[in-house]
């Protein structure tokens, strides 16, 4: 019974995903896009959590962990790239 409700929650997650995607496309600056990408990864972490509950498979928790790690490294790398490019 709860599986169906969690399906609804997973569908609701499409809303922040769409908002993040619109921000990613519209910009207007490159840091805006980086922030949007970071937020989309946070949504993906939440989606992995909900999917772990729906399938009763805790393996998706590792997916969430790796996604959080990749997102942090990517954001920091983008920030360094931005600063180097700006100083030139």
């Amino acid at each position: 019974m709860t599986g169906g409700v969690f399906d609804i929650l997973l569908t609701l997650l499409a809303l922040p995903l769409a908002f993040g995607f619109v921000r990613l496309v519209r910009g207007p600056s490159l840091p805006d896009r980086v922030v949007a990408l970071d937020f989309i990864t946070a949504v993906a972490v939440a989606a992995a959590g909900v999917w772990a509950i729906i399938t009763s498979n805790p393996v998706f928790l590792d997916v969430a962990m790796v996604l959080a790690l990749i997102s942090f490294v990517g954001t920091v790398a983008f920030a360094r790239y931005l600063e180097r490019r700006g100083r030139r």
Partner: protein, 114 residues
């Protein structure tokens, strides 16, 4: 049931963060919405996972992910905000005060960096 309520709260926060990211006027206010509400939303959903399974190994893993998120989210937003300010991303016209402009070097860069 508890897991369901907490997951619903977390996803509600994610939706609020998404609306903030979509509607706020400039980069810093957008980050204000997405980094705090987004991180708390993800943490609440992960907490719901821990409650749903109730297994020690999973709870430990969830705590590790949550601590990692709590450590890295402020670092990532700080680094991005600093890079954006230094490369001269414009602030919202409604900005009241910009104390960094008086102390630090003026924002560098031009239109080509955006």
């Amino acid at each position: 049931m508890t897991a369901l309520i907490i997951a619903a709260l977390g996803i509600g926060l994610m939706v609020i963060a998404g609306i903030g990211l979509f509607r706020m006027p400039d980069l810093l206010t957008r980050m204000h919405a997405s980094s705090k509400a987004g991180t708390l939303g993800a943490i609440l959903v992960l907490a719901a996972v821990a409650i749903h399974f109730g297994d020690t190994a999973i709870v430990v893993r969830v705590v590790v992910v949550c601590v990692f998120l709590l450590i890295t989210a402020p670092i990532a937003s700080h680094v991005i905000a600093r890079a954006a300010y230094r490369t001269g991303v414009p602030l919202s016209p409604e900005t009241v005060i910009d104390e960094l402009a008086e102390t630090a070097e003026p924002p560098q860069g031009d239109d080509s960096v955006r």
